[in-house]
Symmetry: D3
Subunit: 313 residues, 6 copies
């Protein structure tokens, strides 16, 4: 692994260290300063001239600081004559702002794609985007990785029986269907509607498909406050599900989401480590699967010019 | 309506004429030549210097000729010093090639977005994209219109009762849900899977949701050969639906799709006129709703700087 | 004032309102949401199609959120078909990160210039940049305003006698010289050096020029913690100055800067309102000059195509 | 020849195979699908990450499909992280649409140059452009090859005596002159004019230069319908030429051009294989010279960083 | 003529003044300074914000200074917020460097096109390019004017009889043919070749076509030293021409070209005023036709959005 | 040193030769032609395909010809398929036109940065810019070298005592301070002002800081006519300096600067060889320090991917 450099901001030091360890290399030191006027500043600690630079930075609060760190690293690397700059974004920032479904709103996922290119990125690696179309926002080669091999493997080992995969909303049906097919399980869909007779405020939850007496496994791309999942669990149990678990790829889990999970009717929650959490605080029925091996292997293959698709057959 | 010009290629002359008529103006003449070496050529027939040019061109076979016509018109208009060039694409070409869901394939909808900008378009208007994210492929302002006002109005007048809206696949659930909510109808979903025991070739159709004794109305963004819809109709009837109709916004209807529709178990089919058809050949149970008024109004508002979102409240 | 729209983020509502009032118009409403995953979101509240949009956003902590708000507004405005988008940045973010004076650091002021253009800005207005060269980072027309007319007028009215203008460091000599010339006052310079004999930590303050018995007026472009100014005041008094005041254009005043000012040996401090402060907390010997009239006049002239340079003769 | 990949669309499989054979390598497999809605689709069959990709695609009817294939391959290769993408266009599409000699027409050769770059091409190789200036349309390095070494060698071996080179029109004089000089032969020019007395329709052919009793050899860059050449032959014979042959580099030969050639007064016709033809249908007095060795050598030199100009001394 | 500004460098003040007079307006004052280090500098003397700026600058020695003046004016105008910037180049600089006909040479006409755009030009107007393809080098709308209406009119009035139009080389045949057709005159061509037997130095002039006893009128796009024309005149007279005149659109006439013309066998020389000359020094048989009315009319039409092609019917 | 090519224009052949010699390689031959119409032309004499091209060109009169030579070389190299093109500009052209300090003037240093990129440069190396911010004008990696190691070393060896460093104006204080700190010497500043009472023409020179009885060493980035330095010397001597010397990095020395230096009161002048001079004409008290070793080492490190910052610790 010559001529390759691994850099990171402050978003997820543990993930960056894990990847570096798997690649048997050190992280390139970066000094971070926050000036008294709140301006961020970085200094890359060793020459990266003509090297193959990978910058690992995941989205987590404070999102805009994390994003600025990424831009600063790219800018510094570009003008320090880096050979190639690849931004590795396990959890892509503003990933759900991917369409203009109301007038006069930003499409922030596209804005960020443009700004990464404007800053000087040559290549992007990301994981489990909310919509696969988002990859088309980039005008540079972008590799879209999936945690699916890790997740499918985990659930296959548990040999789920009597289970039904649940799509928590219309937008998530394609993802749920993918897992349902891989795990050879049936699928049901949650459809929430505002009742026109009862006014805009009252939302009624319909379940489309058969869940009676079955163990429900909600599949979603991310869990933030957990509201969607916790409410879905109650509705599913009310409609006759035997139990409800959930697997959400990006475990954002903001605010008091973890303590609310402990109190919720969710039997189990499975996430990956694309977003950092203090492992001490996590309850036992919250399983974190690591995507560090996937990212390390992807970085190795990109650096050495090997096929990435071979990882996902 | 001063200083505005309406141009069109050969893709859908009737639609262009209808729009021009609604705007009480003439189409700017364009001469089209196909040279003996198969090269296309156009000549815009009057000065368009500093005018607000709208080029109406919809996708239909031969798609690549139609697309080249559009590029030629934009190139000719740009270098003839047009003030602003808006490409109006009622049915966007290659609209379903919007994501890289296999290795080493093109994302043609994005490629075309880039090439429209490279050719010189300043603005784009399109309708009912397969995925709303596709709009984010453009680096110029793009207006995404919906045939929904026309379609919802049509079905509301028919006061559907005992109906259920059908999403023909996972990708279409969000659109089906939109119409189900507007028409206050329940929804069901068709899920086709390859049976791993029976081999890759055998696909089994599951219906998620309750359709027994109901009149099923399949909602989809386009109908090409009709295979999906005709097979879905059979599966729905077999599972107990009272009748099956379909509404597909873009009526591409290629090959012998129309004659196969006549023989199919579909009770009715509703499309719009984003793709041209010879009206003589259309059976009575195929209804074509016109989106010309929508497009004419959008063009007028864009030219005069009025809000478009006001059309879709 | 037809066809002009004034938008603002959350950075300095009072300044935006003052400008709007001076232009006798209302601010265009913008709805701001911070999602539970810390993602920002905005919705422009009325049609801005083909209008002349001015977005007023000044830099203040949290700087990266404020910057993201600006990018979101520009993105939303661009794709909402705004006619022209002018970013008005009274205090430019990261203004001192304007040169690569160490290896492998970002030049953030240039990065932001590029990202404003990438987001869709057509024009920029800013004030009293740390270096005038920074304007050259823009690839779009940019107007550089100066608070000088307001400040010079203020000090001329006070008829300063026995005063000497102080440049607080080598980089500030050109600005100090400008004010010294306008106010017909002599100048002195503070030169801080690390003593090689005493080690890197010990910095000795030299004063170049004659200040004995004079009232010193430090001129600087910004005051953040106030450290530079407060220490300079002590050094000047120690070297024989009769009194020390300061005028810093951008009054960033972070942390406990204001309470430390109260305890400092500085007689008076003059700033402008490019950065917001709660007026209740400001001591009497801190004077805030308003640049709202300057900005309002600049916006009016840009919109109406009048000369800006005429404002600074 | 490591790390190099040869791809092709459906335009001229034999030429691509010949080049691959000369380079002792295999073509990278590409799967082509035409969907029922006439949309083209391709899938590159093996990893091309970081390789040196050459895409061989020549213009022939249906030109716009062939062009779209090229764009799709470039798009697929770019986002599959190809190291470098070189488009090899033996017969450049729309090569005669290279100037705006009427108002409001496209300059399609330039449009295509821009769209190749927009799609992601880094380098272009083409042959015997109609005008050498067309190379200047590219904003990427482009190599312009000439079939001249092959053609001059062929005619030198035939030791032409009593011959005169004929330029078939004013635009072709420079090319004719080049061959006349290389073959040490005199030159004459055909000048067709509309007779103002006889009306626009009647065109009179003048021959400038001495052809009486000589064997005329028309040199042109392409032959499509053959009209120009066949009519020129009659005019030359009528004016006293002993015989008339022709050499046209790009043998497009559309429609019934070959059968009309058989009936024409042309003694011999020489073309190259930049455009495909079924060899069975070609008459004996039509000679096809192969440019595959030239292209193979050019590709090898580009890949290995050797001089191309050395091929044309 | 509101909101339009006419600027010029030092290349051809008389032409700029003539155009301004025809448009009944004043030239915008520009102050030019050449610093002691040979750096050029300009200051536009009045506000041009949001105006329609036309910069008239023709190529003449010192060419690179003239070109730099043009770039400086465009840069100054862009960042002074000009509404639109049109570069008017009656004689385009480096116009004959339009193709790469040797390895490793620049295509300077293309380079300049790119640099005009990089500097900020939105539109270009030029006249009688050496090759019409050169217009395709621009990525902005460009209008190509022809002096033909003025020249044809001049010769038609003189009712030429017994004349033959001469193309001085292969590259000039298309232009000569255009004038021959418009003036209803025959054409002949001069073909100079190096004799392989006599060595590279010896060039023999062949005349293709019939000139015996006729008055020859050489047509060329430019005359610089006059060598080509003077030698052609001798060859034509030697071969039996009754007299030889010449019409060269761009009268560059460098060095002692004018005094050599006086001594040459050329009967008459006709040029236009795209390049400046001191009228006192011009002999009587040198006629200068003015293209100022053409340029003034073109500027007026561009500013007012009228058709330019109407000028050349 | 494989695969690297060194090219140069006519600006400073000796410097280019010195660098080539230090790198133990030959300069790539370039043929230069100036046509009779004053157009420049170049031909690179050997294949540079896929090589690492460094073009050494310094600014000196005639500046615009020198600049055009650089653009021509970059254009020729780009389209000759050079692997990477680095423009090495020891004295950057128009380096003092780096800010818009008056309305409607160009910022030529930025314009040139853009045009170098538009021409095809991938990388820039320059030395001792007037303002360090100017580096931010580039959108490509740029290395800013300093002659400081050479100059500081030279003065340290001379063990200056009783010296004071002089900044000749406000803009030069930061540079003077850098050298003062490195040489452990005090500093003074020259402040010239126009006296409002005496009218704009009369400028009075103030000296800020203590120089009485000291040997003054003026530090400046360039000396052109020498006016500033010669007048400063007189003022310093008048105010009591024991002697005055100067060190100006870029020795432009135009017109009769050298003969005026001989007559001036300046004791010594030290420059570098970034600008060429005939060594015969230089007086003994003018010392030229060579920066060729610095540039050669920088080129070697850039080519081999080694750190440049290590050169300036």
């Amino acid at each position: 692994m010559n001529n390759i450099k691994l850099l990171t901001g402050t978003s997820h030091p543990q993930l960056a260290r894990n990847i570096a360890e798997l690649l048997r290399m050190d992280l390139t030191p970066v000094e971070w300063i926050r000036f008294s006027n709140d301006n961020l500043f970085c200094r890359i600690g060793e020459s990266i001239r003509e090297t193959d630079v990978f910058i690992i930075q995941t989205s987590r609060p404070p999102v805009n600081d994390i994003l600025m760190e990424l831009y600063l690293l790219i800018d510094a690397a570009k003008y320090a004559s880096a050979g190639r700059i690849t931004a590795v974004l396990p959890y892509y920032p503003y990933v759900r702002s991917d369409k203009k479904d109301q007038p006069r709103i930003p499409v922030t996922a596209r804005l960020i794609a443009d700004q990464l290119v404007a800053a000087g990125a040559h290549h992007v690696v990301t994981m489990d985007l909310h919509s696969p179309q988002t990859l088309g926002f980039f005008r540079i080669p972008a590799d879209h990785l999936y945690a699916a091999p890790v997740i499918v493997d985990y659930f296959r080992k548990r040999a789920l029986k009597n289970y039904v995969i649940i799509a928590p909303d219309a937008g998530g049906v394609a993802r749920a269907r993918f897992y349902a097919q891989r795990l050879s399980l049936p699928m049901a869909i949650i459809d929430k509607r505002r009742d026109p007779k009862l006014g805009r405020e009252v939302e009624i939850t319909y379940i489309i498909g058969d869940i009676k007496g079955k163990d429900a496994l909600i599949i979603d791309d991310e869990i933030t406050t957990g509201n969607t999942v916790f409410q879905s669990a109650e509705a599913l149990l009310k409609d006759g599900a035997a139990s409800v678990s959930a697997c959400c790829i990006h475990g954002v889990l903001q605010g008091d989401a973890i303590s609310r999970f402990k109190k919720s009717k969710l039997k189990e929650l499975t996430i990956t480590d694309t977003v950092p959490h203090d492992k001490k605080n996590l309850p036992k029925n919250l399983t974190t699967l690591s995507i560090a091996p996937l990212l390390a292997e992807a970085i190795r293959r990109i650096h050495e010019g090997e096929s990435l698709s071979a990882m996902f057959i």
